[in-house]
Symmetry: C2
Subunit: 273 residues, 2 copies
């Protein structure tokens, strides 16, 4: 008998919702190990039947019922997928009846709108936010900072760039970023050019030991990466944030999703699409 | 009575799972309109009680029960949130019992692992993928293309850059991109420098009218943006893909999520974290 149970995240579109749902549930059973696979675009009865046969085989080979997390909407496709020797966690099935009853409406059974392209204007807006973040990475174009929804400020390698890109992709937020250089840090206040934008600045900080580790990967044995220098830069950056009463968070023990959603929440930003 | 029903996506961490889940369900009722709000980080009984009071007030003001999609894990916090005059769609409650029974294990009730930071090595890997994509945007550093997991090729503004960044952030994939310039397009074959990487190239194409629209926003009335030129470039790019039997997809009616997950699937790439 194998040690691993198979877990499938199956969707009629991207698989993002089924995966997100399934992963959250699986993290609750962290003493167990799972073989995970995401299978998107199961949107016909034929594809579902072929997949059901594969699931049968997995159940036989594993001597364990596979876990099947599914967000398929079309009832015929869902029926074709359901097999007895799998543990079916059917997201749509579980809630749609309750919602139909409460809302007094039939579900439209339209596939894939959640991560589909709702309309071109929204798509354009999102791409624009990504381009904005790319163009304003590391303070390149200060003169346009008044168009930013938020400006992330922190020392080099504190997590600004990936957070900006995530804010743009996930929320359509125009996020610029400004790296505090050693020059900037020698003053107790923000660089002058940032002062007019004080109200949309959000600070990022990081544990100096972690920063030392990250910078050492990039420039080993440099002054830039030394633990002493990292400590000093982080202290000075935090002093500047406190001086201006700028909210800041530590990125040390957070994923990009957590950093971004914390900023959305604390800076009371609204999703742009 | 207002026309809009309030819908809340409530989470003990980022809100990403609750939002993804709730939005998918709401798209099934597209004749109804909703006021949507995401509320992350409800991780104490006190915060849940305060929010429950707010939900009460919303129910009274709207004269309609608000919809509450929640993925809160801690049972005490969930109980504090549940109120009678809301429609509670409790993601955790619906499935965890079934899973506990089938897996023969109690849920660990640990909060926030799905979008939390699993470990530093994984975080580093993801940041590295983002940096890789940024450094290889628009073919800047060809000499390192052998480190790429996938290379997206297409005409200017066909969607390469946001797709690369999404692949990096969502899947930890090292995605490079190469823009086919008018020079490249005058030849029926791929640029020579790309030939050694033929097996990891994936093509993006786009409807010429849509491309014309996108390019016109950037450079109105230019030859670059003209419909004729867009038609010719798209035709030539698709000929090159066919010549080398390179898989390609149209980005015209797809969201970034759909483009990225289609590439993951068709290029049989595996998530890197």
């Amino acid at each position: 008998m194998p040690e691993l149970r198979s877990a499938f995240f199956i969707s009629d579109r991207t698989g993002i919702t089924a995966e997100s749902l399934g992963q959250t549930l699986l993290t609750q059973f962290d003493s167990l190990a799972f073989k995970r696979e995401t299978i998107p675009f199961i949107d016909t009865v034929e594809k579902a039947q072929a997949l059901a046969e594969r699931l049968h085989k997995v159940a036989e080979e594993d001597h364990l019922k596979p876990l099947v997390f599914t967000s398929i909407i079309n009832p015929a496709v869902r029926r074709a997928l359901h097999i007895d020797d799998a543990i079916m966690v059917d997201f749509f099935d579980a809630f749609i009846g309750q919602l139909e009853q409460e809302l007094g409406q039939q579900a439209s059974l339209t596939v894939g709108k959640a991560h589909g392209m709702v309309n071109e204007a929204q798509y354009d807006h999102r791409i624009e936010a990504v381009n904005f973040s790319l163009n304003h990475d590391d303070g390149i174009k200060l003169k346009d900072l008044d168009e930013a929804d938020v400006i992330l400020v922190g020392v080099s390698r504190s997590g600004k760039t990936p957070t900006c890109l995530y804010l743009a992709l996930q929320y359509g937020i125009r996020a610029a970023n400004y790296p505090l250089t050693p020059d900037d840090l020698s003053s107790p206040t923000l660089p002058k050019m940032l002062l007019p934008f004080r109200n949309k600045i959000f600070g990022l900080t990081i544990d100096p030991a972690r920063l030392h580790h990250i910078r050492s990967e990039r420039k080993p044995d440099s002054k830039y990466a030394s633990l002493d220098n990292c400590r000093r830069e982080v202290n000075e950056a935090e002093s500047i944030f406190r001086h201006h009463a700028i909210s800041f968070i530590s990125t040390t023990h957070k994923s990009i999703e957590e950093i971004a959603s914390t900023i959305m929440h604390k800076a009371t930003l609204n999703r742009r699409f």
